[in-house]
Every structure is written in C-alpha cells, then in structure tokens.
C-alpha cells in the first residue's frame, strides 16, 4: 500500500457557493430579533426627528401661522442661508471657535498630562484640582466667567488695571473683536481637563520597557518622548481631537449663557444661531435647513472618528 504525502497532490475542492444575503439573514434571524427593541427605539428617537427636520427644511413657517399650516418653498431656505451674510459670519466663527478651542485645549491637556505623569509631592491634589473645570456645571461656570469678564465689576479687568497693564477695564465680551477669543478662553478652560484625562490614560499604556530600551540606547528625555511616547499616543490623540472637535462644534452652553451670540452675532456659532432662529424667532424652516447642513458636517466628522478607532484596532491586531 502506498501512502500519499499530505494533500499536496489532491485536487482542491471547489468552494461551496456563497449563500444569498436573505438566506444569511434568515439563518441569523434570532440575532435580528434581539436587536429589534433597540432598533425600534432608535427609529423613534433618531430616525423620525431626522426625517422630520429634513422635511421641515423645505417649508416656510411664518410667525402667526400654526406649524401644521406651513408653506412648501422647496430649497428656498437653503439658498437663503447660503446667500446670507450672517451665515458666512457664523460659519467663520464656528470654524475659529472649533479649531482654536480644540487645538489649544488639546495641547494644554497634553502638557498637563505629561507634567502630572511624573512623580512629585502633591500630584494627586493637583490632578483633582485640574479636573474641576470639566466636572462643574457649565451653566454655573459660564455665569461666573461672565461676571469675571464684566466691563465694570469684572475681576480680570481689575487685576489688569492694578497690574498697570491698562488704564481702563477692558470690555471683553461687549466688544465684537474680543468676544470670541474671550469665549474661546472659557471653553478651553472647561475642556482641557478632558484632553488631560485622555492623554493620562494613554500614558499609562506606554510600555515601560520601551522607555528603558530608549534610555539604554542613549535617548534623552525629549528624544524618549519624541520617539516612544508621542507615537504611542497617536491613536488616543486622534480620538481626543475628534471628540473635542465634535463637542466644540456642537457646544451651546458657554456661548449662549455668556453672550447669547452677541454683540451683533460676533459670538454666534452654528448651534446658538440655529437655536435662536428656531426658538427665538420661530423660523423653524430655516433653522431646520441649518440643522440639516450641520448634521451632514457632524456625520462626516463622525465618519473620521470611527475610521480612526478602527484604524487603531487594525494596528493592534497586526498583519
């Protein structure tokens, strides 16, 4: 009797035909049943409002008219928005607000995390203090900052006067040039602890042996950071920046409470503007059209967020 060595010579079996999608769905029908309640809830609380908003964006809702008597105007709301001066001003504000808040909060948080990663006396206390801006009520914080910026009684202005940096209390938030930077400062103050916590968590995962290896290889503290820590944190950094960007793009409390978008729209960003259009001026159709545009932008950011997350997973899985 001869024994064949392995299956090398045997003809390869043809793969069975791939089952159709419907058949696959039918075989895993129980799985669909399990997620059904969640899908139903999502349809009610997400899909329907999205549909309704899109629908509403094609209608005009003059004040005095009931919402059910809205008038169909096609894409007029969209053309009105895109051709209005306020739209471009608010868009520019939103970009400045989002980019500046995100990047500066991230850099500050990163630096704070690196500083707190070292072992020193009082580290735990300092860490707790630095987290406070993030955990206290945003409404309360906005009111406090509003008073600190006050043109007559604000402590910031008084300190500046006493230091001799200026003669008169500066008008931080009633001035079209300084209002947005002033609000961005508040926002950064509120958000950098989030970046700090994320980066601190990331720092825990930097392999000690890699840092030691770099030390033996002759790398200085800065080189160890640049060659080991920084690349190791690239994933968590991307996620942090994206989360901050989405949060800033959608932020409402700080600008709304502090200035309400004024003076003369100088601190309006999309969200506060939409809110004012809808609930202040009852221009539901225009507000809905704005919301649809916002939805598209946020979904694109969300797409990059998911891609960054899955990219990290792939990296860890290896080839």
């Amino acid at each position: 009797m001869t024994i064949h060595a392995g299956h090398a010579g045997a003809p390869r079996k043809a793969l069975p035909p791939r089952p159709s999608v419907l058949r696959q769905m039918w075989t895993s029908r129980a799985d669909y049943l399990y997620v059904l309640p969640a899908i139903v809830v999502m349809l009610i609380v997400i899909a329907y409002p999205v549909y309704y908003t899109i629908d509403l964006s094609f209608f005009k809702t003059p004040p005095g008219l009931q919402l059910k008597d809205k008038i169909f105007v096609g894409v007029e709301n969209y053309t009105a928005i895109l051709s209005s001066e306020v739209f471009w001003k608010v868009t520019l504000n939103t970009i400045i607000w989002t980019v500046a808040s995100t990047l500066i909060a991230f850099v500050l948080g990163y630096a704070a995390a690196l500083a707190l990663h070292r072992d020193f006396a009082g580290r735990a206390v300092l860490r707790a203090i630095l987290i406070i801006p993030w955990v206290i009520s945003a409404v309360a914080a906005s009111y406090i900052w509003k008073w600190m910026y006050h043109s007559d009684f604000g402590i910031i202005g008084q300190v500046l006067v006493q230091l001799g940096l200026t003669d008169r209390q500066p008008n931080f938030i009633d001035n079209v040039h300084t209002v947005l930077p002033s609000l961005i400062v508040v926002n950064i103050w509120r958000e950098f602890p989030f970046a700090m916590i994320m980066i601190m968590a990331g720092l825990q995962t930097v392999p000690e042996q890699l840092l030691r290896a770099a030390k033996v290889d002759g790398a200085s503290a800065w080189q160890r950071f640049w060659h080991v820590t920084f690349p190791h944190l690239s994933g968590v950094s991307t996620v942090t920046i994206l989360l901050l960007a989405v949060a800033n793009f959608n932020s409402f409390i700080v600008p709304w409470i502090t200035t309400g978008g004024g003076p003369s729209n100088a601190s309006h960003i999309w969200i506060t503007h939409i809110y004012e259009l809808a609930f202040g001026r009852q221009r539901w159709g225009v507000a809905a059209a704005y919301s649809v545009l916002l939805f598209i932008i946020v979904m694109s950011l969300g797409y990059f967020y998911v891609r960054a997350l899955s990219g990290n997973e792939k990296k860890e899985e290896g080839p």
Binding site: P207, Q209, R212, V216, G218, G318
Partner: protein, 365 residues
Amino acid sequence: MAQVVLKDLVKTYGSIYAAKDVSLTVNDGEFVALVGPSGCGKTTTLNLVAGLIPITSGDITIGNRIVNDLDPKDRDIAMVFQNYALYPNKTVFQNLAFPLQMRKLPKSEIETKVKDAAKVLDITHLLERKPRELSGGQQQRVALGRALVRDPAVFLMDEPLSNLDAKLRVQMRSEIKRFHQDLNATIIYVTHDQLEAVTMADKMAVMNGGLLQQYDTPANVFANPVNMFVASFIGSPAMSLVPLQATTVDGRTSLTSSEGWVLPLSDANARKVAAASSHKIVLGARHSTIKLHKSAVDGAVPARVYTVEPTGDITFVQAFLAGAILNISLPPTAQVAPDEMVWLEFDQDRIHLFDGETEMALRAS
C-alpha cells in the same frame, strides 16, 4: 568586551531588600546567567548593572571604570528585553539605527553597521518591515541586532526567550549561545528557567530573596548545591528532599524516619552528619540516582507509588516517602502502578545531605 565586577551590591525599597550584598565577577567573554524564581532579585541586579535603577550601596565596575553614577548610555552596555522592546513605529532598519543615531554617528557609518549586524543575524531581508510584521523569533533577532550594532562592552539580557513558544525557545537558545561564541561577548543573562541557565551559561548565579546563593559553573552547581534552595531549584525534575532524623547506635550512624524505617549511612556520609547542628537531617537525591525495587531489598526503604508519568524515553515515578514526594526515573519498560508498594535504594556516593536547621549542605569535616 570587558569584565564586570559587582561588589556588595545592595538595593532596598524602604525596608525591603531587593538585592542584598551581591558580589560576583563576570570575566571578559563569559556568559553568566542570573537565575532564580520570581522576585529573587535577578532582574533588579541586571537593572542595577544597566543603570536603570539607582543602587543603594556597593560598587559596579565595567571594564576598569566604576559606573555607579553613570547614565545607562554612558556605561557601554546594550540590553535585550523580555518583550524585545522594539520601537513599533520604526522599521527594522530604523530600530537598529536608533542607538547609533543617538550617538550622532555619521549616516554612512550607521548604514554600514546596521547592514553588518543584519547580516550576522540573518535579518537583512526584514530591514524595511515594521516589528508587528515579524514573528516572535524574528523580533528577537532584531532586538539582538539593536544590541549588537552598538558593539558594547557587555550585553545584558532580561529573560529574552520567555515570550517565545517552546519550540522556538529551544532554537533561539542555541542561536544566542552561538552568538556568544562567535562574538566572544560578555553576557549577563537573566532567566527564571534553570534549564536555559544550565544549557547556555559558562557560570550561573543562583539567587533567592535578594541574596546570591551560589555562583559557579552549571556542572558544579548541579553536582554540589550549597543549600536546599539551590538543590531544589536546579535540575528537572527537582531534587527530592526527605526530612529525617540522624541516630547513632554503637558508632553506626543512620537516618530514621517517622515511618519507622532506618537507612544506614556510609562512613563518608556519617562524617558529614556529624557536622550538623542538630539531629534534623534532610536527605536529597536526584531522580536518576534512586533505584526502584518491586520487593524488599537490603538497604532499601519502603515507599508507596503516587503517580506514574511516561514521557517516552523515560518514565517518571513519584513516590511517597516519610511525608515527602520523591521523583524517580525508570526505563520506559518498567511496570509500576499507582498505590503499589516499592522499595527505594539510594546511592550513598551520590546522595546529598543537608542540615535540617540551617538548610545548608553538609560537608565532611
């Protein structure tokens, strides 16, 4: 290459000694294994030599320099880590080049050195890959390469094989041994696997509880363990240790057990027992030196079989004797069943005797 001398090295964390009065000399070109169980101080000792943790007291000399206060990079050492510690975002080439770049060598020289090291370790074809695209063995070679390019005075290796699977470990074991022979490198190698230490090292330093227990060639450590710890740690399966009582009747010294049997000792062994601090004696015997009989024989003691483990070319039998478990190796043809009564005969020239109080090996006075 250079000599490494540790003198009364101490490392404490609070009141805990991680390493206590460790003194040993690693000669130029020697391969020394630091071996011991987890927490014995071996990795601490290696990190002290590397300069990754500060010493509490003592001296470390590499070459002719005392390096106590030098940074790791100034000690002329290279280190290979347990999980290779390759820079994941750099290619193999960049990983090998990194220590040279840190020394600001010219680009052309870096390239030559990296290529030479890659050739020695047979990783030239991997130079453009990232570490995650490599197998465990290849990563290990890259880690060795990164140590090799620096042409250090001493190679420090911290359990470099423990992340590999059993088969690859055996293969890399011989590759590292070959690496040592070809380069005539001074290597300090930390492992918890006594088999690695025995097979690879010129000398082994057995550590326990922060203390250096014995520092000698593997053959000597195996043949003459200084205490019960070394005896039970080195050798696989471990040396069996049986606690007994020494009695002397009419000038004849014997060991008696709580089970009632008596094992008469040879004159040489009797002299060793006479040096003990008390009557408590621990009898040590390696599996291959114990004879197993199926019926009572003169000079043999009764035991009960616990388990039988055939491994192919050797069958290991574990047997109860005076409250201890003994390992005995038998030819595969041996027919023994669990719970069977057997009689064990010890080779008087090859047994080890330990002081039951101090746990130190007894030597003839």
